[in-house]
């Protein structure tokens, strides 16, 4: 019987998603920095007695980290690295420029991010669609009606509660009885977010009196 069987080496068990992945520690992450390390790096880089080689070595270590903007400011490391970009030693200034450019690109990326609308479940979509329809009914501008509804939804912490419904109704009747307001919004002469804020304050006043 054995001659009909071919023995194969046992395959190692698959570990699924974790294949090729290893657990990182908190300190290994680019966005995690130890404040004491940054403060010490700042002191060393500001010290004129430190050799250029040591400065380059410190700058190379900083290149692996992406500190938050507040930390760059509070530790003073951002300013120090920026100053080193104009260092008379070209190797130091080159390394400093690389770190500064890396940090700047990262921070600008964070600042330029805009909120992305996430799809909702069918019931929420139906509810939001009818809210948009209600605003559009009195405003006659579907694009602005949609934008107003997004501001209302965000203002109500993305929950369609009693406040959301009241706010939508308030806006609907505001346009219905106020041609001037309707014209201003249609002509984009008023900030929609500020307009929603104003309506929200009115709704809250009514809540307070109840």
């Amino acid at each position: 019987m054995d001659k009909f069987l071919i023995k194969k080496t046992k395959e190692p068990p698959s570990s699924g998603i974790s294949r090729g992945m290893k657990q990182a520690s908190l300190h290994q992450l680019g966005g995690v920095v130890v404040l004491e390390d940054l403060t010490s790096a700042n002191q060393q880089l500001s010290n004129p007695d430190i050799s250029p080689d040591q400065k380059v070595s410190i700058l190379n270590k900083l290149k692996n980290k992406k500190p938050a903007k507040e930390i760059l400011k509070s530790t003073g490391i951002g300013r120090t690295v920026h100053r080193l970009c104009r260092d008379e030693n070209p190797i130091v200034s080159g390394a400093a420029n690389e770190v500064y450019g890396f940090w700047k690109t990262h921070i600008l990326h964070l600042l330029r991010r805009k909120p992305i609308e996430v799809e909702s479940d069918a019931e929420t979509q139906r509810g939001r669609a009818s809210a948009k329809k209600m605003i559009n009914l009195s405003l006659n501008n579907s694009v602005i009606a949609e934008e107003i509804e997004i501001h209302v939804f965000n203002k109500c912490k993305k929950i369609m509660n009693r406040t959301y419904n009241r706010l939508i109704r308030k806006i609907h009747f505001c346009f219905k009885g106020n041609e001037d307001q309707k014209r201003r919004v249609n002509e984009m002469n008023s900030d929609l977010k500020e307009f929603v804020e104003e309506m929200y304050r009115d709704v809250m006043k009514v809540y307070a009196t109840q």
């Binding site: 992945m21 657990q23 130890v34 991010r113």
Partner: protein, 261 residues
């Protein structure tokens, strides 16, 4: 002199349940603002941060800032001696080497006190800046606990992906693959039942199920949980404790193993 009286003693028992699986010992930092605890697990993969504000206590007195190093196993044993309805008071003298826990029954007919030895703990303090995360997901805490429990049967890692379609939790292992997708749901009867997603860029990160399951021990503290993710920073799992503070867990993701690749 330090004294903190908590009418809802069960809260402290729940907090202990939420901490003891990850930490063996921790320093409880007491100041006039309240009690704070921050500690990493032994492997430095996760960090727990607890904040109990002074206003949340029935009576709170802290004459001098003090840091009380406690063995959480021992503290848990003591807190198990308290009933859920008991009023718990934590007391310590300045520069004392012990802490006292007093348990009073609601009718004041039974008062017990337990003294515990303090430890000298030398722990580093990590500054955690408020970060603008790429994705923030708020969902019912029981739902999150269920997802972690279900998917940990498939593998030891879980991928959390947040895209404009919603949030997807997935795990793959020897028995197959499991995927759970949650869409944003805003039309709910109670606010804590909602799934709310704030997103500035799509993120997909892999985490160890073992840690996520430990975090869900805090489920009884809050009806909803908030997950915050960004590339290259730890995942934050936050449970708000009503009227008193929060417990936050920070977890490092799994990263590509360059040696194995």
């Amino acid at each position: 002199m330090f004294e903190a009286r908590l009418l809802q003693g069960s809260l402290l028992k729940k907090v202990m349940e939420a901490l003891k699986e990850l930490l063996n010992e921790a320093a409880w930092d007491c100041s006039d603002a309240g009690i704070q605890l921050q500690a990493m697990d032994n492997s430095h993969v996760s960090l727990v941060s607890l904040n109990l504000r002074a206003e949340g206590f029935d009576k709170y007195r802290c004459d001098r800032n003090l840091s009380m190093g406690m063995n959480l196993g021992s503290m848990s044993k003591i807190l198990k001696c308290a009933s859920n309805e008991d009023i718990i008071t934590i007391k310590a003298q300045d520069n004392a080497d012990t802490v006292t826990f007093v348990f009073e029954s609601p009718e004041q007919d039974k008062v017990s006190d337990y003294e515990m030895k303090l430890m000298n703990l030398d722990q580093e303090h990590l500054g955690i800046p408020e970060t603008d995360y790429a994705c923030t997901i708020r969902l019912p805490s029981s739902e999150f606990a269920r997802i972690c429990r279900d998917l940990s049967q498939f593998g030891e890692s879980m991928v959390i992906s947040c895209t404009k379609e919603g949030v997807r939790f997935s795990a793959t292992g020897d028995i197959g693959t499991g995927n759970i997708k949650l869409a944003q749901s805003a039309k709910v009867d109670k606010e804590e039942e909602a799934v709310v997603i704030e997103m500035q860029e799509p993120v997909s990160l892999t985490f160890a199920c073992r840690y996520l399951n430990s975090f869900t021990k805090a489920t009884s503290l809050s009806k909803s949980v908030q997950l915050s993710m960004s590339p290259e920073v730890p995942l934050v799992v936050e449970y708000k404790i009503e009227d008193i503070g929060h417990v936050r867990y920070y977890l490092a993701p799994k990263i590509e193993d360059e040696e194995a690749a």
